[in-house]
């Protein structure tokens, strides 16, 4: 079963395998989501760790990628495919 960034619990670590923006409901939003994710620092092969989650519904997430920390919504995290570490 494919695992996505939104499935991780706080403290979980994994590695980025790729992107699947078709999983995002709003297709207009999905168009350049992959580019935006790449630009802010998500990239295949990088280690990720979920550092924090929001109080309500675990949204948004704070994720460590390499040396930086990025905040994103669950919906956006759903487009990031993870692999086995």
């Amino acid at each position: 079963m494919t695992k996505y960034l939104c499935d991780l619990k706080v403290g979980d670590q994994s590695i980025i395998l790729g992107f699947d923006t078709s999983r995002v409901e709003d297709q207009e939003f999905a168009i350049d989501l992959e580019d935006r994710l790449l630009e802010i620092g998500f990239e295949e092969g990088l280690d990720v760790e979920v550092l924090h989650k929001g109080t309500f519904g675990g949204d948004p997430l704070a994720v460590k990628i390499g040396t930086i920390t990025v905040a994103l919504r669950k919906m956006e995290a759903a487009a990031i495919i993870l692999g086995e570490k």
Binding site: D26, R36, I40, G41, H52, G54, P60, A62, I68, V70
Partner: protein
């Protein structure tokens, strides 16, 4: 020789603003690009050789895709097609040593522009503290552009860069080796490759940031911390500002007195005293609140906490289609909509920013308090409801809630109609915490204060003078039965408006008071005092006014009047600020129109319902 045109560019959190402030000091100007809400910062740099360099600070961005207005304006400037801003001759691209991989991608993208580039490698003291080491010579070689290390916040840290910029425009070489494939992914790969090559030591985690975030982003502690911080901030805005505000008010009153002793009774004295001094004074009195609020906001921003605050509030704000960053400006609007609207500059998305500006005046600002207090004291009996709560307090709370709920509805409707657009990603880097630099905070604060003062000195001043003239002319006839204002233009307008306001239960006295009340909401109280021919200062007027109003107004009228003040944009300064910040007369007209429309509609409903219930 004309000044060398240099543009500063860099990703968010690269240290670009700090570098700009250090390079230009107070020689900078903040405005908007014509027709758009994109902030334009420009300044002059005095180089080591004593030459002036013209420096424009482009918005912080990750790439030059035309997705946001920021990116579009930046691309237009860089490709030389922008209508007012000339194409820069040299680019200084700021990159942060702690985030090379992401920032280098922008450098690579800029190389295809064919403009000479200098990379300013920001070795923030944090980077050295984290133990990051970078092979600068190798980096320069790989990129094909010169690289200078800087410490953005220190004067000594930018010396080399300043020296480099003192050359003639022709002395800068264009970058060598343009990337063949310019897709985001290809550039990213290349940036990643270079980062690996030049990083001698990667540096550890920023321990302090992890530690602070374990509290600031904690599901429970984070929320407690956030609201404690807010509570403290608003306590400060109200209580610390009280003294200075009294002082300003007193000074302007004293100034009026001085004028009165030197200038004989007449038009000139009235003009200076009631028009100029009272008009400007009534706006300048908000200066202490603005300074305190912005000091807090700027410190929170510079320390890195603001991004955490947005994280905490995002889920709640997402419900109305906005993102977490809209929360602070809206909250600020409870003190005064003017700094609130000014604070929306932290919202990157144009549509979100417009929506936030449009709903900001619905937050109950402090200028409404005198109006609410007067009417509640006069019309709401001081009894307990449900055995526990004072009815007056409940009404007061209800007025606040009515504003908030209306704002939520308006925002939701706007996001589905006129500010509709693709959902905005929340994606945001959480920067490392750092101690804010005093100089940086002070410079930024000064920019805000200057913008506010300039407005008080121009549009607000003209409006105050116009209102003064309207309430004074034409003069009342001898032995007139009504107050002087009744015969003035303001009186005529008010009496004409009464036809429109009659369905709300407003009499001509109210209609007249609403005209000078456009200067500021609380002016309506003193204007009512004038209409009911009461003498004395604001407090005395308010006290005796309550008694007069009790017998003069039926209850439905009073309730409709309260409802009117929840919505009506009875504040020219707010409208002027909205005009400046949206950079559009259209949006200003929309704000004025929808607020007056809502005010009329809700007051009408209140008046009809209350009248029906009482009969």
């Amino acid at each position: 020789m004309t000044a060398l045109r240099v543009a500063l560019i860099g990703a968010p959190n690269s240290g670009k603003s700090s570098l700009f402030n250090t390079l230009t000091g107070s020689h900078q100007k903040v405005a908007n690009y014509p027709g758009v809400t994109v902030e334009r910062r420009a300044g002059t740099v005095l180089t080591e050789a004593g030459e002036n360099v013209y420096l424009v600070d482009l918005p912080g961005l990750y790439s030059l895709n035309d997705r946001s207005l920021d990116e579009k304006v930046s691309r237009e400037i860089l490709t030389g097609v922008h209508e007012t801003e000339e194409q820069p001759e040299v680019l200084v691209c700021v990159i942060n040593a702690a985030n090379l991989r992401v920032h280098l991608r922008l450098v690579l993208e800029l190389k295809s522009l064919d403009i000479p580039i200098i990379v300013a490698l920001n070795m923030h003291d944090l980077a050295t503290r984290d133990g990051i080491e970078i092979d600068v010579a190798r980096l320069s070689e790989e990129l094909g552009v010169p690289v200078m290390t800087t410490i953005a916040v220190k004067d000594s840290g930018v010396k080399a860069l300043k020296e480099y910029l003192s050359r003639d425009a022709s002395a800068y070489a264009k970058p060598t080796g343009k990337p063949a494939d310019t897709t985001t992914r290809a550039l990213q790969k290349e940036a990643g490759r270079i980062t690996k090559l030049v990083t001698i030591k990667e540096g550890g985690q920023h321990k302090m940031t992890r530690l602070l975030d374990s509290v600031a982003l904690h599901p429970v502690a984070g929320i407690v911390l956030f609201f404690t911080m807010l509570f403290f901030m608003f306590q400060a805005v109200f209580s610390w500002a009280e003294g200075p505000m009294d002082f300003i008010e007193g000074s302007f009153a004293a100034l009026g007195e001085i004028v009165a002793t030197y200038i004989p009774e007449g038009i000139l004295r009235s003009f200076i005293q009631d028009g100029l001094i009272a008009g400007v004074g009534s706006v300048l009195v908000f200066l202490p609140q603005i300074i305190i609020l912005f000091t807090f906001i700027l410190i929170l921003e510079a320390s890195g906490y603001m991004a955490r605050a947005a994280f905490i509030m995002d889920k709640l704000m997402a419900k109305v289609g906005l993102n977490g960053r809209a929360f602070i400006p809206l909250l600020s609007s409870f003190a005064c909509a003017i700094p609130g609207i000014m604070a929306t500059r932290t919202i990157a998305n144009h549509r979100d920013r417009i929506t936030t500006i449009m709903i900001a005046p619905l937050m109950t600002c402090s200028a409404r308090l005198p109006v609410y207090t007067l009417l509640i004291a006069a019309f709401i009996p001081n009894i307990k409801v449900m055995g526990y709560f004072g009815l007056q307090g409940v009404v007061f709370f209800g007025l606040y809630m009515a504003g908030i709920i209306s704002a939520i509805i308006v925002a939701a409707v706007m996001k589905k109609t006129i500010t509709k657009g693709a959902l905005q990603p929340f994606l945001m880097e959480l920067p490392k915490y750092q101690l804010p630099r005093l100089r940086h905070v002070f410079l930024e604060l000064w920019q805000r204060v200057r913008a506010f003062l300039r407005r008080a000195g121009t549009i607000i001043l003209y409006a105050a003078i116009a209102l003064w003239a309207l309430t004074l002319y034409p003069r009342a006839p001898e032995n007139a039965p009504e107050a002087d204002i009744y015969y003035s233009f303001a009186g005529m307008i008010g009496r004409a408006l009464q036809v429109i306001f009659a369905p709300l239960g407003f009499n001509w006295e109210i209609s007249i008071a609403l005209v000078p009340g456009m200067a500021a909401r609380e002016v309506a109280v003193s204007a009512l005092g004038t209409v009911y021919a009461l003498q004395g200062d604001e407090d005395q007027v308010a006290q005796s006014l309550a008694t007069v109003l009790q017998s003069a107004w039926p209850l439905p009228t009073a309730l409709a009047f309260l409802a009117w003040f929840i919505y009506a944009p009875q504040c020219l300064a707010t409208l002027a600020t909205a005009r400046r910040e949206t950079n559009s007369w259209g949006w200003t007209a929309f704000m004025t129109g929808y607020l007056f429309g809502l005010a009329y509609l809700i007051s009408l409903i209140v008046n009809i319902t209350a009248t029906a219930l009482l009969n």
